[in-house]
Symmetry: C2
């Protein structure tokens, strides 16, 4: 179901987390569960995967992750501030050691001049560290393409954070 890049990344991430005894969670908006879907595609993932939050609506982001409504209104759901709050909220509302968040515009609708289709914010939160966020632009891709690339980046950011 997932392409080879994603499978390889998921396997490397699970192995790195397992070696360090770390468990993982994700708060997903535009990827809609695919980051967790890719990790759980690998047999034996249950010792590393804690749980996942698919927070598609703003209400879900607030209620499941504690994202501040003022940040949603001021910066929008696809923003540095909300990505950080989502990752922090996933960590705080789970038993995992590390969390990734993904919030973006997969298209084809929903884009603007400021935030075109393909704009995705990611954040990583770890116990004892301030969350950090990164923005990526996946241009000229369709909805599936944006979501696939976003899954890859999310897994890569987790792997970097764990391996560093």
């Amino acid at each position: 179901m997932f392409n080879e890049d994603i499978q390889t990344l998921a396997e490397s991430l699970l192995e790195a987390a397992r070696q360090r005894g770390l468990t993982i969670t994700a708060a997903e908006s535009c990827t809609g569960g695919l980051v967790m879907g890719a990790l759980t595609a690998i047999a034996g993932s249950s010792d590393v995967v804690d749980r996942g939050f698919v927070t598609y609506t703003n209400e879900a982001k607030q209620q499941m992750l504690g994202v501040n409504i003022e940040n949603l209104e001021r910066f929008g759901a696809v923003s540095n501030a909300v990505a950080k709050e989502m990752a922090y909220g996933a960590l705080a509302n789970s038993m995992a050691d590390i969390a990734v968040s993904i919030t973006g515009i997969a298209g084809p609708g929903g884009g603007s001049d400021e935030k075109p289709v393909g704009t995705v914010w990611f954040a990583i939160a770890q116990l004892g560290e301030a969350p950090h966020a990164e923005e990526r632009h996946f241009n000229d891709l369709d909805r599936d393409g944006v979501r696939n690339e976003a899954v890859k980046v999310a897994l890569s950011l987790l792997l970097e954070a764990i391996a560093s």
Copy 2:
């Protein structure tokens, strides 16, 4: 990413829910986010998809969905009772009108004589109705195959419940 059967089912389900003004949530264990992933693969799904719970661990089932630890211990996570509690918990902890749950053994490990690999329980919960659960056996399929079939059944059960 998802095969044509799943895409067609997801589109039909979104259309049926949209016509009736209903929103959807899912509590996923063995499918690990793929039901939500399949629904959100369709552009415009955001008016129907509320949120998703990827409850891979027993702790996640208890903490996110309120599944009773006694049922987990007595019947196991892959059971009629836990499937019903997961669907009910997803409904109660979301703003959705209808919930599906999926809990099964995707393999290759984790099977037993009583519950072989490919055993999956599903439940549907709707406001004002008692949850109902169904068991399916997907024999002779690998992990990907079991998960794919489970996604299809979950979408079909939602569609049946909404269309009836």
